[in-house]
Structure formats: C-alpha cells, structure tokens
C-alpha cells in the first residue's frame, strides 16, 4: 500500500475521488481501483479499459508490453499435485513446462490478497448491496446469507439448484431424494476482477446479486458468460 502512504491519502479519500469522477463521467458501473497485490482484469466495454486492464498500483500509467518472449501453448489443472501446469513456447522455439502450486498455501495467499483488495471498497456500498439483496430473496434465505454467507435457489426454468456464495463461485447442482449431482462452479464478475483472486471489483454482495439476477432472467447467458470450474478445481473453492 505504499502509493497511499507516500501521498498521505487514505483509501477512503481515493474511493470518494474515484466515485466523484465516475459520476462526472456518467460511468454508471463505476471506476474500479487498482491494488498492489493483483492486476485488474476488466470488461472491454469499460471506458477506462485501456488505462486499467492489467494494472496494479505499481504499473499504473506504464505501457504494458509483454517482452517475456513466452507464448502460452496450453495449461491445465493437475489434480494429484494440486497445481496448474503451463506449457510455454520460448521465442517461437522450444516448449517448456512449468507450474504454479495451487494448494492450501495458494488459497491462504489469495485470502491475504483479498484483504488488500477490500481496502478499495466502501463498507456502505456493501450495506447497500445487502439491502438490495434483501428485496430479492425471502427473509429466511437472507438470514442464512447473513449468518453463513450463502443461500440456495432452484431455477424455475431448468430445475437446477444454485448455491450462491459470498466470495466464491456459484455452485450449480441437481438434487433428488437419493442423490446430489455437482454440475459446475460458475465464476463470473461484472465489470472486472482482481487476477487470480476470488474477488471482483464490486463489493462481494453485488457479485452475488449479479449471479442471482442473471440466473433468474437469462440462465443460458449466465452459464455462457461464466467460467465453469470442476469440483476439484481451485476456482470452485470447495
């Protein structure tokens, strides 16, 4: 958080300034704030896509050039060793293999990085989002969400049941009297998210509202736009 400390600005000051800018520009979705811990991944239709996509507080304003000479050939999750394997081609020549461990340490690191990302968000925004959510679901489900951080709803169209979670992909499953069958963990963030973190740029409950509203109004689009993770993938967070 060195940028903030050196300029004697609090995160609250920055949030307010960016919020004011969004209002002046009439950017209805708001302007997300970069953090030091993870790069922003933005939707291309945001007016500041070019200035913010791929940025952290340390490379803000710099020209983002990929000069590594490495081209991604393929990547997959290795269930046994809980790591993501990457095949990279170096300067158009030999393919090299490497990996990033995605075990418990990776999860812990993600959680710590989320603490940093939460500084960009206003608790009042989360409270407003909670208020909105309370108008969308039944009181006992809202109580469950406040207590546990998740609630379920079954789609009237498809019969698929969804477990909507705070800071986690929505779990889609089919449940019968005899069994429960996992279908997918659906990961989706409106506007943008912080790379390799479970956190979007909107307050966590806004992400939950987005999943719920999209599921109810256009379930096919919700599945199509989501990144679909399997049960053991780190993205499923199960």
């Amino acid at each position: 958080m060195t940028v903030v400390e050196n300029n004697s600005l609090s995160w609250q000051d920055m949030r307010r300034a960016v919020g004011r800018l969004a209002k002046i520009e009439r950017t209805y979705m708001g302007i997300p704030m970069p953090i030091e811990e993870a790069a922003l991944v933005m939707t291309k239709s945001h007016p500041h896509y070019k200035n913010l996509n791929g940025r952290t507080t340390t490379n803000l304003g710099e020209d983002l050039k990929d000069d590594s000479g490495l081209e991604l050939v393929n990547s997959w999750f290795d269930r046994r060793d809980r790591r993501r394997i990457y095949l990279l081609r170096e300067n158009g020549g030999r393919v090299e293999r490497g990996w990033i461990n995605q075990g418990p340490a990776h999860r812990l690191t993600s959680m710590l990085k989320c603490l940093g990302a939460s500084l960009t968000m206003d608790i009042k925004a989360e409270e407003r989002a909670m208020e909105t959510l309370s108008t969308l679901i039944k009181p006992h489900l809202f109580d469950a969400y406040r207590m546990l951080g998740y609630f379920i709803e079954t789609s009237k169209r498809s019969g698929v049941t969804y477990l909507f979670r705070l800071l986690g992909a929505t779990i889609a499953f089919r449940s019968t009297e005899d069994s429960t069958r996992f279908l997918a963990a659906l990961c989706l963030h409106p506007l943008g998210y912080y790379d390799d973190l479970p956190m979007g740029v909107m307050v966590p409950t806004d992400d939950v509202i987005a999943h719920l509203v999209m599921m109810r109004s256009d379930e096919v689009m919700f599945w199509r736009k989501s990144n679909q993770h399997g049960p053991v993938s780190p993205g499923a967070m199960l």
Binding site: V18, G19, Y28, S110, L191, D195, D206, A210, G235
Partner: protein, 122 residues
Amino acid sequence: MNNGDLAILNCSDGDTRLSFNSDVPDEVARAKVIVEDMLKRGYCISIVVGDKMERVKAFDATKNEYVIDAPDPEAPAKRRGGRRKGVPTKSTRAYAVAPTAGGGLGVRAFPLRRSQLAKDTR
C-alpha cells in the same frame, strides 16, 4: 406510484438508483438514453414480471415500456423466441448488471513471467 426504478450495480457506491417519473416525458427520454446506452454497452438489465425475472431487450420511450422476449408456450420449442412484449416501466423494478469480465480464479489472465513458475530441478 408512477416511478420507474432501476438499480445499477456500481463498484464505487454499491448500487445507484435511477428513478424516473413515468408521466414526465423529459424524465422518460433521459431514462431511454441511459437504458439504451447500457444495453449497447452489454449490460444485463433484468425486470421483475410477476414472480419471474426477464431480461430487457430494448426500451420503448413512446409507450414507456421495457421490451422483453415473450416466448409463445404453444409454439414448438425451437420456434419459441422472436416475439416481443412491452412491460410498463411504472412500478416495475429493474436491475442493471455491468458487462462481465468472466472469472478466472486459478487461471492467470495475463502473461506469465518465467520467475513465477516452478520447474523440475532434475
């Protein structure tokens, strides 16, 4: 109540409310500009219709209505789309979700550096 009410999910403020009086042409015209701009940018605008939610396809300022797809339940499954239906903005709750950036937990969105990867030391 003659107000249209649109909750826009916003990363700075939580949600921003856009309320407009459906009987005032200027306010409806302003709402039309905003809603059409949002649809053009890829927002998912959903409205509550009865006990269901439907995705808005367009905004008709002359009739002051949200336009949604209205599949004919009698038609064969493959031909159900295509019909449009207007829903008055009066007393209709609407939610606007910004275009999505997908979600990539576990998969890096940006080019990797060699230093980020572990390798066999054998």
